[in-house]
Amino acid sequence: MVVRELSDADADRIFHALADATRRDIIARVAREGLSVSALAQHYPMSFAAVQKHVAVLHRAGLVHKERRGREQVVQARPATLRRAIELLEAYERIWRQRVDGIDRLLAEE
């Protein structure tokens, strides 16, 4: 289940990368299929350069990789890193859901 150990800096980069709505949307799109930066840029009301910057943040966090195809850079999601980031947030939520269920059972007993 553990994909690999992340350093603190890795984890910080992942959370920073995922904190932005545009970057989350980019990930959702490139998780389905690899897309060039220019194809991605058509979906957002911002410049090509701005989209390129978002892709760079995702790349530094290890959430996407880039591949040169001819004159274009194709962006693809790296599911293993993404899964790890989601696991971090969900693990603690799961603990709390179990605690809440425990409180509920306790209150029902009395």
């Binding site: 984890a11 603690y92 939520e93 859901r97 269920d101 425990g102 306790l106």
Partner: protein, 160 residues
């Protein structure tokens, strides 16, 4: 289902869980205030908690351990930072070493619990803030341990 909603803020490293119980505020407060009730729900499945110290006042400390399926113990501590019975509790929660002393380098989670009366009972909101992503990483290790020790019946409860 008692959990009505939850949200995660990846930037602020915050988890919020909102739950509703069919019981008055005073009774929900009791499950935090009474250590014998608290220890019946604090530990993950298969890891019951035992509170050896429980000082429910501002600046008060709590010390507990959770006993795993193989008899191994995992120790933790709380420090109460604000308390307004029966509506609000703020505390820091961290791991402790074998003697129960807080681990200086360890994870600290800042928790805020709010209880509000509702027509049908009580709404409990828990906001947990992590100091850094490494703290969340440590919690993940615990989450996985819990996944392994869960019995089939408990997994059914979660899915149902």
């Amino acid at each position: 289902m008692p959990v009505v909603k939850s949200y995660k803020d990846a930037e602020a490293l915050t988890l919020t869980v909102v739950a509703e119980f069919a019981a008055p505020v005073e009774r929900v407060w009791q499950v935090w205030e009474d250590p014998r009730l608290l220890e019946r729900w604090w530990g993950p499945p298969g890891w019951p908690a035992t509170f050896e110290r429980h000082e429910f006042v501002v600046g008060g400390r709590c010390a507990y351990y959770m006993t795993g399926p193989g008899g191994e113990r995992s120790r933790g501590w709380w420090r109460i930072t604000a308390i307004e019975p029966p509506r609000r509790l703020e505390f820091d929660d961290g791991f402790a070493d074998e003697s129960g002393e807080p681990q200086l380098e360890g994870t600290v989670i800042h928790g805020v619990v709010t209880l509000e009366p509702q027509e049908t009972g009580t709404r409990m909101t828990i906001v947990c803030r992590f100091d850094d992503a490494a703290a969340m990483e440590q919690m993940l290790a615990m989450g996985m341990e819990e996944g392994i020790t869960q019995s089939a019946g408990q997994i059914d409860d979660l899915l149902g």
